[in-house]
Amino acid sequence: MATSTLNRRSFLLSAVATTGALTLGISLTGCSEDQRPLSKNTEPQTFNAFISIASDDSVTIQVPCSEMGQGVFTALPMILADELDADWEKVTAETASADKAYHYKTGWDDQATGGSYSIAGWYAALRNVGAAAREMLTDAAAETWNVPASECVTNKAVVSHPMSGRSLGYGALVAAASKRTVPENPKLKSAEDFQIIGHPKSRKDTTAKVDGSAIFGVDVKLPGMLIATVKTSPTFGGMVKNYNEGAALAMPGVRGIVPVPAGIAVVADSYWQAHKAIDALDIVFDSGSNAEQNSEKISAELHKGLSEEGLVAHEQGKAKEAIAANDSNAVTAVYEVPYLAHACMEPMACTVDVRADSCHIIAPTQAPGEVRRLAEKITGLPLEKIKVDVTFLGGGFGRRFEVDFVEQAILASKAIGRPVKLIWSREEDIAHDFYRPASVVRLSAAFDKAGDGLAFDCRLVAPSISQRALNLPDSELDGAAVEVLREIPYGFANTYVDYVRKDLGVPVGWWRSVGASQNGFIRESYIDELAHSRGEDPYQFRRRLLGEDKRHLGVLELAAEKAGWKNQLPEGHFHGIAVVMSFNSYVAEVAEISIEKNGNLKIHKITCAVDCGTVVNPSIVEAQVVSAVVYGLTAAAAGEITIKGGAVEQSNFHDYPALKLSETPDIEVHLVKSTEPPTGIGEPGLPPLAPAVANAIFAATGKRIRSLPFSKNGMTLA
């Protein structure tokens, strides 16, 4: 496992550890904490925390991760169902409530969805759960028939004994089977025997998402529920000074005014009434210490960091000395990227019912475990009295790893004494995100006479997400900040990478692909600069420097081949290429572009090659890579959060635009066949996108893009 993900996760792990000992290795057949029936299906019989089986042999599988579009609601049940030999057409998925049973069994002791870890983290464990259950069902049938279990076979939720022609469905066996001892090492299928894993099965959530019946955070209804919205200090670190409570309370439908951190929530009968009343409050804020902060100062402070000493992220040999000794062929460049918002389609929302002796939270959250611990802290109730249900998430991208909106909803319900659904406006969502960090990076490199990489020297200056989110001490390196630049795969004999941390008063957070999102752009653009400085083809240059690195080479060569790198392109079309490993998956992308007569940038096609190990569902993997390309292109083309007066200047999709269908290029995804363990797929398609396009722009125009977005470099998407 790569250090980048281990680092991020070990931080999370240590954060979790402080909240109390949460046991690892819970019995897989153990029921969940309170033994409640887990399935909403009719007449289900709970087999274990993950499986319930009804008398018609239909199987309901609890999904331990949050479905935010990435497909876990389908792919995780596929893993379990294959080993269980369930009938896929009769498998129903349900998102699991917060419960210790749904903590990852390895790597991350929490119920949380992020880090492209869902499939990687659950693959072995869910196969084991399915195989153990299948063995127990088989043994129960064999005992009933008084035959050796080895003579029995399973298929589509039925155990048969071919020699005697007898068979029993799982529904008839579940009661007896669930009482049996759980086999510790159940026999797993060989990959060639998979009937579900590896196949492009349709998503289990599609039907509900095309008829309007899927329930997202904003759609939750509870009896007696009120609806709230919030306004918090536009300036980061600001506080509420005063407000006109009477004016808001006098408005129709308004039921209460609740102070929340740095802001006010209005609770009303409907959203629109709450929204109107927020304006009537006429809140006056005390701007606090960040009131003078702006983008120009932030940029200057980041550049200033280039001359400060940082924490060493990677050191091998003597890079600085080697570059100084070869300064005739050394290339130095400085790159800069802006803050970015997540802008999930569904604004932040959360429903909470706090009572004297219980708390029920229904939230679109990536962090149900954290939500539960937060509720414990605020309400003072014991953990077992706090129930957290997870709805579908209208996008996550790392934003819903934060629990700020959950805290507001808990406070509102607690104060009002009724169930409250809190919904943010889009303006609140853009102005109060946890932003992808802005950063400035300087890189230098030199080559020896043979053309091999002699030295690579790099200094990153950026705010730290781990400092903000996990209280990482000053003396510790934020691994997420330096990923991709620390793990440079191009065989430099001497390398030095250090990191200067800057707290700039803007909250930063996990944004799809995290450090790889900006560092992928910076590294792969810079590698392109090096290739051109040596007069080498950027693809062949990478091939040469990657040496024997088979997985990097595998995707690089596949992308180049499928894109026709060596072929003649149509008149005026140009290619750019990039390759980045993130979340243990390897992705190379080739962009084909042209510059229109008016100077606009036309992106014709993105060809992607992906090695994410074993593929559970190729259709979902393809969709995730396309998704990451579109998300990455939105950011690279025009994505920028700017600061003025300590506050975000953008407010909605008109000034923080998202890519539209008309701007979306053809996107082709090619998968490397692999039997390696599955690795991440929600994020790794993103990092190579911006550099592939920027490198194509250089090929077309000779203009090197060293800052994002493209729109700031005079490039508008056609």
Partner: protein, 152 residues
């Protein structure tokens, strides 16, 4: 009190007529398939039909919808069998799914006007935002729906 005709049924709602139609549909009548995305008519997640025309209901006052026939995603078909919905299933379009009610309503209106839209027609008409980037499958599904609609 205003009177609205939604999905073939009449609803009398005690609400300020200036309330956006979106919030009347969601909070007062209880159809939650129509989504709130931006509140300024930019993203299209709230798209419904008013007399067959696609309208961004977050920026349309409920009072102005009196006397019209409003259709939401729940009323597009009784059982998800509208050709556009079937095409969406066939192409497995949705990811997070939040924008898809609006996408489907925008597409259904497009196909009513242009039964066989070109890619350029699609580019011009489907201006809704999808942050998951389902656009390539949306384009495929629109063409599929156009090709199958006559057969339904």
């Amino acid at each position: 009190m205003i009177s609205l005709r939604i999905n073939g049924n009449k609803y009398d709602v005690d609400v300020d007529p200036e309330t956006p139609l979106l919030w009347v549909i969601r909070d007062h009548i209880g159809f939650t398939g129509t989504k709130f995305g931006c509140g300024i008519g930019e993203c299209g997640a709230c798209t419904v039909h008013i007399d067959g025309e696609p309208v961004r209901s977050c920026s349309y006052q409920a009072g102005d919808a009196q006397g019209t026939a409003i259709t939401t995603i729940e009323g597009l078909s009784p059982d998800g069998s509208h050709p556009v919905q079937k095409a969406w299933v066939a192409e497995d379009v949705p990811q997070c799914g939040y924008c898809q009610s609006g996408m489907i309503m925008a597409t259904a209106a497009l196909l009513d006007e242009k039964p066989h839209p070109t890619d350029a027609d699609i580019d011009d008409s489907i201006t809704n935002i999808c942050r998951c980037g389902t656009y390539p499958r949306i384009r495929k599904a629109i063409h599929l729906a156009a090709n199958t609609k006559g057969e339904a």
